[in-house]
Amino acid sequence: MRRATAGLALLAALLAVLPAFARGYALSVATLILYFAYTGQAWNVMMGFAGQLSLGHSLYVGVGAYAAGALFFHYGIGPWAGLWVAILLCVALGLLVGFLAFRFGISGVYFALLTIAFAEFTRIGFDHLDWIGGPAGMFLRVAQRDTWDLANFRGPPVMYYYAMLFLTAGAFALCSFLLKSKAGYYWLAIRENEEAAQALGINTFAWKMLAVAVSSAMTAVAGVFFAFYYNNLFPEQIFHISRSIEIILGPIIGGIGTLFGPILGAAVLTLLSDGITELLGALGWELPGIKQVFYGIVLLIVIVFLPHGIWPGLARKLRLDR
């Protein structure tokens, strides 16, 4: 573990000074990597720890984004207040999904379908909600771009980078604490064998609900960030299932249930995706859909040869697991 701690400190230091070297496009790619690392970590609490497969995490990103966005748009209420509304709404939604599923014994693939259904319902519902602009979208005023206005979360790209870095570090610390606590042990037990967990006195319903609450609350925060970073929200985009898939690919590629998996996976996938775009542009291959094909092939290779993700094998190689 000592090597891992040293490696982590080095990584944190590198990321902290990164904006001194990276600007413009590179900085936005770095921000995007951290965004996916964070949301992947949030999803990992539910799937990687507690074993509950959500394919509808775009629900929490979307509701979180719209909640804080709408409060700002309509009433000028800043993101720091909106954040709590977003978290409350998302936790309530998560608990509703969890209650319906866990109370009636819906699990596995059926649970995943339920999470998709909720995200889709919400997408369609928001499309018909004029208050937040419906399908035409909602646009937040972009006033400040050169000075840091933390109260309204307005500022230059580097501010968003640091915000995301802070969130990612916080999520990592939270998850590593949870894993060592009673909640972590209980979640893993439920993931491995729910019946055996129950026989050991674990109220599996309550602990699964806690996993959903933690995961949806974390994801809501990402939604608020999304709203104030991109400044435009469309139900068709933010709630789309492809957004949910994007969130879960990082941890799957990096290593489900590991702390570093979501971070590593997000970095690999984002760099790969942008790298392929650059490469194809340089080669002049502008066939429609070819990027997706390359992306898919790489995913396939990782999944076939590293079914547990990249991190577990890498950790063994680097002797970080001891």
Partner: protein, 241 residues
Amino acid sequence: MALLEVHGVSKSFRGLRAVHEASFDIPEGSINALIGPNGAGKTTIFNMIAGVYAPDGGTIHFQGKAIHGLRPDQVCVAGIGRTFQIVKPFAGLSVLDNVVVGALLRERSARAARRISLDILEKLHLGPKRDLPASSLTLPDRKRLEVARALATRPKLLLLDEAMAGLRPTECDQMIEVFRRLNVAEGLTILLIEHVMRAVMALAQHIGVLRHGEVIARGKPEEIVRDPAVLECYLGEETEV
């Protein structure tokens, strides 16, 4: 007052009568066995005590409190630990962490739970394997891990569902020794469901015999082996014991 009082419990599955008005008591500090041919309803009774099924009728009292209809986790909190006939290890966790999960029921901190778990692993001869993933254990070790995990919840009553099945005679004797020591040294009350008569005869002070979901005989081992009804239905003409 007995530690566990099972009174007139019945359970049917889609009209098939699995257990019919079964009654028995388990005195505190005793080792008891429930035997009977396949399909006699042993596992159903076991599962009703453990909270997996609610009985259709009848009552189950533990330390004077009704526990029929409670969930499995509530039964465990009440002080009844169980093992599974088909072992259910947390395969992806280490042997030690498997036991820590159980110990966390009564311990606040993970550190205290680890300390207790290490002691229990020693008792079950699993100490040297504590850091291995549970998935790498052999069947006898998995059976031991089941027991270790259940013990970690500090039960007053331990339910063993065929804990000896599939063990070789020497391994079986080792387990018998472990249970006997737990019973004598720590006052643990045990109810075992068992096919291995070697274990039943070596351990049990009281035996109940089930047939077609009914308790047809109760008594000490030496009484049971002479009971004509038992001999006829269960042990057959030729007995090993």
